[in-house]
Symmetry: D2
C-alpha cells in the first residue's frame, strides 16, 4: 500500500506476501487494485503479489492530457525496477494484457513468464466502436447510462441469468461511486488504447507465455487469442467454457488454476 | 404499398410479385419494410413477397400505450387473412422471429413453412439488459448515443473491419432520421419483447422449420438457436460463418440461399 | 445411363431431366451414381442432373495402374464437352470436391458456379494416415475389417446413436457387395488423392463458390473449409450443425437447401 | 515399483516422491505406468504420485475371463486403502476417467478432488463402434493393422502434421512390442468399457471436480465433457485448443498446468 513517483506522477501499488516468485498483475480498464482483493490470500500461497493501479485508475494519479499505453508500460517498468522484483510472472487482463504484451516486447529480460488473459493484439474497428460508445456514455457522467452501456457485454449469458440481482446492485453502486474525475480518467484510458496495434511485434516475445480465453467473450473474442497464439511461438492456450470477458470474476477457479499451474511449470520439454 | 386497419390501428404492408407461393417477412426491431428493398427483386423470382411494418415501426401506426407481442401476432394473422394468402412461408428475423414462432404455435394452419433467423425462444436476462440499455439510450433522443449503443453488437468483427466507412455514414444518417416519435415507438417495441418466453410452447410447432444462426451473433448467440433446434422436432439448422446478428445484411447470399432452398424443399423424407 | 469413352477407358454417367441449368455431381470416394438416387427426383425440379462414376468407381472402368486425380479431372472435362453442357453448377463432395476445385482452377470457363462440400485443399498428414489405414484394411478384402475401419468416422455421434440398426445392416451389406475388383479400385482411388495439394492454386477460382461444412466432420474438419474460404475470394460458407462427413446423407434437407438456393442466386451484389 | 494382490490377482503400481498431497493417476486404455514417466519429475514437485496399471495393462496381471470396469474400480479402492493414501486427488484420462468417475460415485469419501480428462459418462454407439473396430483389428495380432486403426483418431490434425516422423516410428515400435497377450488384454479392456453408462450417477459426485477437454478430440468430443459439466454440480471445465484425445502428450504444459493449479485450489468461494 504505497506510492511510486515516476516523472512527478504518483502511482499506487500494493505488495502482498513474501513468496520467492512474484506475480505482477495489470488491471483491465474498469478495474483497480481492489478488484483483486478476493483472490489475494489464495495467490499469496503461491506468489509475492504485486498489484498496480495504472494512471487514471484507482488510487493512482489522474492525468490531464491524453497519452498512449507507452506511459503505462513505463510505469510497469519503473515499478518492477523500484521494487527490485525477481522471477516475475507478468499477468495482464484485457487493457492490462495489451500493456503486458508490449512490455514483454520491450523489456523481455525483466520477466520470466507472461500470462495474457482476455486480450487482443489490436484494437480492431469493432472494439474501437465499443470504446467510442463507452467514452460517449462516460461523458454524460450518468452512472446508469454508463453501466447499461458497458456491463452487459462484459459477462456471459449464463452469468447474467444466474447473477441478475448482484448485477442490478452493482448498477446502483456504479451510479454512487463514479465521479467526474473517474469518468474523465476512464475516457483517457480508452483513448490510450485506441491506437493499440502490436500485431507486428508480438512475435518477438520469447518468454514462456500462457493465453487465457473465454468462449463467450464478446469484447475480445477467442479469435483475438487465436491470432496471438499463432503469432507468439510456443505460446500455450486454454479456454474457459461458458465464460465472458471478466473471466477471473465469472470462473475464478478455472482462471487461477491456469495461472498458478502455468507459473509453476513455465516452459519445459518432455521426452515423450 | 397499402394499409390494413385492425381494431382501428393502421398497419403498412407491401406485396411484391405474383408468384404462387408466398413469403411473409417479419422485421427485426430496428428494421422496416424498406430494409428488404435490396432483396425484393431476387425474392420475387421465387415468391410473392409480403412485407409488413409492425406497429411502432416504419409506416405503420405509432401507438401510445404499451402492449405485448401478442398484438403483433394478431396483426400478422389479420394480414394473412385479409390478403387471403396461400402456401405461406413465414420468415422472421430477431424480434420478427419471436413473433413468428409464437404465431406458428397459435395459427399453425395458416402457414406451410417457418423460417426463424437470429432469434431466441426467450428474452434472457442478458438480452433484457441489452434491451434496457437501448431503451435508456433511446430516451435521450440523441442519435449518436443511440447508434453507439445499439450498432456495434449487431455486426461481426470482420464486417466492422471492412465496412467502417459505411457504418460511420449510417451513424450520421441515424442522427438525422430518427425523431421523438420513432424513439418512443422503438421503446415500446423493446418493452413488448421483455416478457417473451416461448420455451414451453415451441415444441408444438409441427410445420417444417428452418433455423438460421450466425456464429458471431452476440444478441441472439447460437446457443439460442441450439435450444430452439432441440425443442422443435425435425427443425433444420444452418449456421453462417463469420457473421453477426444482422445476417441478411452481412451475408445475403448465404442467408437467401438457405431461405430459397428450404422453401423449395420443405420437409421430405429420402430413402437412403 | 450411358458410357463415355476417353482414351479407350469407359466411364459411366447418368443424365436426369431436361432443366435448362445443369448440376454435375462428383462423388465421394466410397460413393457411386447410385448414392444420389434418393435425391434425383428432388434435384430434377431444379436442374438437369448429371451423375458420373469416376474411374475405379461404380460402373466405370476399373484400371490397373495407379494415377493421380488429374485423370479424373480430364474425365469430368470430357463429360461436360461430350454432353455439351451449359450453365453448369459443378458440385463435389469429399474426393469429388478435391477434383472439382482443381477442375475449377483448370477449366473455369466451362462452369458457372462451384459447390464444394466436406472437402479440403490438401491431403494433410492425418488424412493421409486415415487413407493408409483404409488401404491397409481394403487389402484384407475382409468386408467387416473394411467397414469397421472406414465407417465410424464418416458419421456424427448423434447419427450413430439414432441409426445404429441401419449402420449394422450396412455392415452386412458391405461384406456381401464388395469384391476384389472393388477393393483394388478403392485402393487406387485413395492413392490418387495422396498427393492432393491445391493450396497454392485455389485462389485462382473466380466463379461463384459455395462451401458446405459440417461441425462434426472428422475426415475433413471445418478448419479445412475455413482455409478454403480464406483462399477463395468471395466464397460463401455455410455450416450444417450436428452433422458428420456424409452430410448429404445425414442432413439432406439442409444440404440440398444450400445447393438449390445457392444455384438459384449465385453471385449478386445488393445495395444495402 | 511394487505389486498389490487383490483376490489373488496381482496389480502393478508405482509410488513416486513423498509429498503430503497425493495424485493417483488412472491410465487410458492403451497406456501404462510407463506412459507417465516423462512427467513424473514435474509432478513430484507438487504431489506424491501414484501410478497404477489396470488389470490387462502394463505389468499388471492379464486375465482370462471378461469383466466390467467394476473390477478396476475395486482395484483402485484396494490400492488407495493398501497404501493408506491421504488427501487424494484422483485423475483419470479416457478409460481411466470412466473408472475415476464411477469410483467417485462409489467411494467419494476416499478422495478430495477429482480430475476427469478426455472422457465420457457413456459409451455411445459411435464410441462402441470405434471400440469394435479396435477389437477386430487387435484380433489380427497385426501391429500395423492395429496401429493404423487406432492411432490417427487419437491425435489432432496439427499434431499429425508436425510429428509425422515420430508417429511413423511409433508404428514400427507397436508392431515390435505388442504380443498376443497384450492384444488379448486390450480386447478385454475394450469390452469392459462397452456397458459404461454413468449418466444417471455422476450427479452424485460432490467432491471438487475439474473437467479437461480438447477441442479436436474425436474419441470423446467436447460434447461428452459438456454433458459431464452439466451433470456434475460445480464442476470446473477448461478446454485445450488445437489438441486431440491424447491431450497430456500433445499439450503437456496446458494439461499439467490445469492439473497442478486445480489441485492447489480445489473448491473455494470468493466474495466478489
Amino acid at each position: 500500500m504505497a506510492f511510486l513517483e515516476v516523472n512527478g506522477k504518483k502511482a499506487y501499488y500494493e505488495v502482498h506476501g513474501d513468496h520467492e516468485s512474484t506475480l505482477v498483475i495489470l488491471n483491465g480498464i474498469m478495474m483497480s487494485c481492489s478488484s483483486w482483493q478476493p483472490f489475494v490470500s489464495l495467490l499469496c500461497q503461491h506468489f509475492k503479489v504485486v498489484l498496480l493501479d495504472f494512471y487514471d485508475q484507482g488510487k493512482s494519479e489522474y492525468l490531464v492530457e491524453n497519452y498512449t499505453q507507452e506511459l503505462q508500460i513505463e510505469l510497469v517498468k519503473e515499478t518492477i525496477m523500484a521494487l527490485d522484483l525477481q522471477q516475475v510472472t507478468l499477468m495482464g487482463i484485457s487493457y492490462g494484457g495489451e500493456v503486458a504484451m508490449k512490455f514483454a516486447v520491450k523489456y523481455q529480460n525483466l520477466i520470466e513468464k507472461l500470462i495474457l488473459a482476455n486480450t487482443t493484439a489490436y484494437t480492431n474497428q469493432q472494439l474501437r466502436a465499443i470504446g467510442d460508445a463507452w467514452v460517449y456514455a462516460a461523458k454524460t457522467h450518468d452512472g446508469k447510462q454508463f453501466f447499461k452501456n458497458t456491463i452487459p457485454p462484459i459477462y456471459s449469458m449464463d452469468f447474467y441469468e444466474k447473477n441478475i440481482d448482484w448485477l442490478n446492485a452493482r448498477e446502483e453502486m456504479f451510479a454512487r461511486l463514479f465521479d467526474a474525475r473517474w469518468y474523465d480518467g476512464f475516457i483517457r484510458l480508452v483513448i490510450s488504447a485506441e491506437a493499440h496495434d502490436a500485431r507486428g511485434d508480438v512475435n518477438q516475445i520469447k518468454v514462456p507465455t500462457l493465453l487465457i480465453g473465454a468462449d463467450e467473450d464478446i469484447i475480445t473474442p477467442l479469435s483475438c487469442q487465436i491470432e496471438l497464439n499463432e503469432a507468439i511461438e510456443n505460446s500455450r492456450f486454454v479456454v474457459i467454457k461458458n465464460c465472458g470477458h471478466a473471466s477471473m470474476y465469472e470462473k475464478p477457479i478455472e482462471f487461477f488454476s491456469a495461472v498458478i499451474g502455468f507459473a509453476a511449470i513455465g516452459e519445459q520439454s518432455f521426452k515423450i
